[in-house]
Every structure is written in C-alpha cells, then in structure tokens.
C-alpha cells in the first residue's frame, strides 16, 4: 500500500471532520486577532519621528528577524584569513540558506528509527538558541 493511502479506520473525511478542526484553530487565531484589535484601540502601534536622512539616530537596528545577521556583520573582525570579514558574514548565511533550500536532496534516505528525531531536535535547539542569543545581543547592544 503506498504511503499516501490509508485504511478507512485511521482516517477522517476532509469535509466536514478535518475542516471543522481546522476551523476551530482558525477561531482561536481570530480570538487573538480580536484581542490585538481591542488592545490597539487603547494603545495603538504608533509611529515614531518622521524619516530624516540627514539625522542618524544613535541605535540603528534592522527588523528583529534580520538582527542576528546584522549582529554577526557588526561584530565580525574586519579581516579573516585575508578575506574581508563582511563578505564572510554575508556569504556564510547565504550558503546556509542554500543548504536548507536543497536539504531534502542531501538527506534523502528514509528515516530508520525515532532516534533521528532527537538528533534533529537537538540540532534545531542549538541553532535556535544561537540565533536568539545573537538577536538579544543585537537588541541590547
């Protein structure tokens, strides 16, 4: 039996059963959205000073999801092994993204046991903690 076919006992129909559970999840998200909307009436997101190209503020920061990347670029020494540090700080993340991009073609053997889940989980935790640490460092510095 191919992997994407199942016996009728361990499946539910997409409609209405699966749709209904997804709908409850959507309702949950909607509640959060509603809370955001109500809070915003009391405390809006707001807007800072108008943009002024001639006046650089003291702490220039990118969005939080680029902050770790920016922190690497800021703290990397100017020269590593005769290559400009900035170039390394950009090229390595790009190579990493490229690796993530083609990852299924590199790791193409089917999983044998659940142990591999834990290995991947540990890997993910290390990566996420590194990124969070860099982000916090960028935020406070």
């Amino acid at each position: 039996m191919p992997e994407n076919e199942h016996s009728t006992e361990d499946t539910i129909p997409f409609y209405p059963d699966h749709i209904r559970t997804e709908f409850y999840v959507v309702l949950g998200v909607l509640v959060v959205v509603l809370i955001i909307a109500i809070v915003a009436m009391i405390k809006p997101v707001g807007i800072g000073e108008p943009a002024d190209p001639l006046n650089t503020p003291l702490h220039v920061k990118p969005e939080w999801y680029f902050l770790s990347l920016y922190q690497i670029l800021k703290k990397i020494p100017p020269m590593i092994l005769g290559i400009q540090g900035k170039v390394i700080g950009v090229v390595i993340p790009i190579i990493l993204v490229g690796l993530i991009f083609i990852w299924p073609f590199l790791d193409n053997k089917p999983d044998k046991s659940k142990k591999i889940y834990w290995i991947r989980l540990a890997f993910v935790i290390v990566a996420v903690i590194t990124i969070i640490a860099l982000t916090i460092w960028g935020e406070v510095s």
Partner: protein, 337 residues
C-alpha cells in the same frame, strides 16, 4: 448537495459581519466632518487644476455635502435627515425578506400547478448552479478525501495557521492600502490619518503589524516541525523547497513593509537592511541599486518597496502557496515514525 446548504449559519453570519466591517471601514472616515478648530479653510472639491484637469468641466467636480448633513438613501423623498446606514440596513433586511417571500409564493403556486415535488429553496439554488457548472461530483470527491488521523495533532496546525494569517494580512493590507499614500511627503501623514481618523484604523494597523511578526514566528515553527519529523523526505522534496521559498517571501514581505510608515525606525532599518544585501560579493552593488533605486534610500525606494509589498510578493506567495497545497493534497500528510 449539502456543501451548498446554508445549515452552517454561524459561518455565513461571520462572513456577513466581516464583509460589513470591510465596507464600513472602507467607506467611513471621521474626517468627513470638519475639524473643530480651524474653520477658515473648509474642505472643498479637490483642486483638479493641479491634476491637469480643467476645473470648468463640472461632471468631474464632486462637492462634498456640508458637514453633519450626510446624504441618505431616501432623504430627498422623505425630507428626513438620517445617516446612510439606517435606511440601507432596512432596505437590505426587509428587501431580501420580501424577495424570499415573493419567491416562496411563486414557487408554491408553481408546485401546486405542476404537481412537482417540493424542495427547499437552498437545494433548488444548489441544483440550479450544479446543472450549469456540474461541480458537485468533483467537489465532493475533493471534499471527501480521507485525511489520516495522526494529522489531528497540535504540531500539524502550524502550516494552516500561517496560511490563515496570510489571509488576515491580505484583508487588513487591502484596508490599509485604501488609505496609505506611498510618497515620502504623504506616507507619514497617511499613517497618522489611519491611526487617528479611519474607523478601527489603529486596530487594523495593529493587526497587520502583529500578525506580520506572528506569521514569521509560526512559519519558522512550521518549518522546524517539518524538519524534525523528517517530513521533507522523498517524495516531498519540492514541498520543502516551495516552503523555504515561502519563508523567504514572508521575510521579504516584512522587509518591504517595514519601510512604508516612513519614520526614523523604518528609514534606518531599511538603510542597514539593504546594507546587508550590499555586502554580498560580486552582486552587492546591483542588489543595493535594485533595492534602493540608487545609492541612498529615497522616495524612489518607498515606491519600489510599496510595489513589491502589494503586488509582486503577494502574487509570488499565492503562486507558491497553491503549489505547496497541491503537493500536500497529492502526496498526503507525511506519516511520522
């Protein structure tokens, strides 16, 4: 047939409320009335001569009504002075009920004359549509597709939440785009206008702002879940690839949208953000010129980011989302070990 039925009135009611809110927000701004302070310069018709249109062509000039006397549907008949919404709501409610009543009388008479068996109105409507589109058979095949029980796990709802947040972003984004002006002179003021003058404007902006951040978090969480469970293995490689592309597109959404308020934070975040792109060897300068339209962040950058944010990236995202969902459909949900 039951897929068309209106049994799930709750869903319908939610849709109606959402649509009503959308129309309300997009047709109302508090600025319709005069500001209480300076009355020396009341709002008149737009200065068409600035736009190269001859002011003498009266068909183009719309003079707003004097303050506090908004037009209404039937005021000119009844001589009343009411808002637009009371008569409109009355017409919609009683008008549609009346239509249903008239149609019911007609059908009853028809059934009585022709002796054809009686059927509920919704079933008749569904039959009428189905006779023309012949959609019910393929649709029921799509909808009846069995989904494995192990997919009813909390970890499996992250992708769906991301997709729903994309819809939320789309709706609030359209509402914001109705009021936003992507020029360096007007962008900041239009955000202030949204925050203070548009009904629920601050709520819409806050939803757009926080759901954008939430979407990135949920999107990454979904990717980590897929990675840990090894759900990218053969035959789902392309699904992973399209998913990574969608994550990158989400980040581009965030990057381009961040500039649009045109305040100091936005301006300098974009400056350093495009500096990161500029450090790429070989194509760095090209990337900077593509992003900033020149060497510095200017009004041109704002226009470009706006175009990317509201046209290019959404189209690309919808395309890859369609591919992503189609592959999930074809290959089923990956079975955990």
């Amino acid at each position: 047939m039951r897929f068309f039925s209106l049994k799930r009135f709750g869903l319908l009611a939610m849709l109606v409320i959402a649509l009503g809110l959308f129309i309300f927000i997009s047709t109302h701004a508090k600025a319709n009335t005069l500001p209480t302070g300076d009355q020396s310069n009341p709002p008149t018709s737009p200065n068409w001569s600035l736009a190269g249109v001859q002011p003498s062509s009266p068909a183009l000039v719309v003079t707003p009504p004097p303050p506090n006397t908004d037009t209404c549907l039937s005021c000119h008949i009844l001589g009343q002075n009411k808002g637009l919404w009371t008569p409109l709501a009355r017409w919609v409610l009683f008008g549609s009920l009346g239509m249903v009543f008239v149609f019911g009388v007609y059908r009853s008479a028809n059934t009585w004359v022709t002796k054809s068996p009686w059927k509920p109105l919704t079933n008749r409507a569904a039959d009428w549509v189905d006779e023309r589109y012949q959609i019910s058979e393929p649709l029921s095949k799509i909808l009846k597709k069995p989904v494995p029980r192990y997919a009813l796990n909390w970890w499996y709802c992250l992708g769906g939440i991301t997709a729903f947040l994309f819809v939320v972003q789309g709706v609030t984004g359209i509402l914001l785009a109705f009021y936003y002006k992507p020029t360096p002179e007007a962008a900041y003021a239009s955000i202030q206008y949204i925050e203070s003058q548009v009904y629920f404007g601050s709520s819409i902006r806050a939803i757009h702002h926080w759901c954008a951040n939430g979407m990135i978090v949920v999107c990454v969480a979904h990717m980590l879940r897929v990675f840990i469970m090894g759900a990218y293995k053969r035959p789902r490689e392309l699904n992973w690839v399209s998913g990574v592309l969608l994550l990158i597109l989400t980040l581009v959404f965030g990057f381009t949208g961040y500039l649009l308020p045109w305040d100091q934070r936005a301006f300098w975040a974009t400056t350093v953000g495009s500096e990161i792109a500029g450090a790429i060897p070989a194509i760095g300068n090209l990337a900077i010129i593509f992003l900033r339209v020149g060497w510095n962040v200017t009004g041109e950058t704002l226009s470009r980011f706006y175009g990317l944010h509201v046209i290019v990236v959404p189209l690309a995202t919808v395309t890859f989302m369609a591919a992503h969902f189609l592959m999930i459909r074809r290959q089923g949900i990956a079975k955990p070990l």
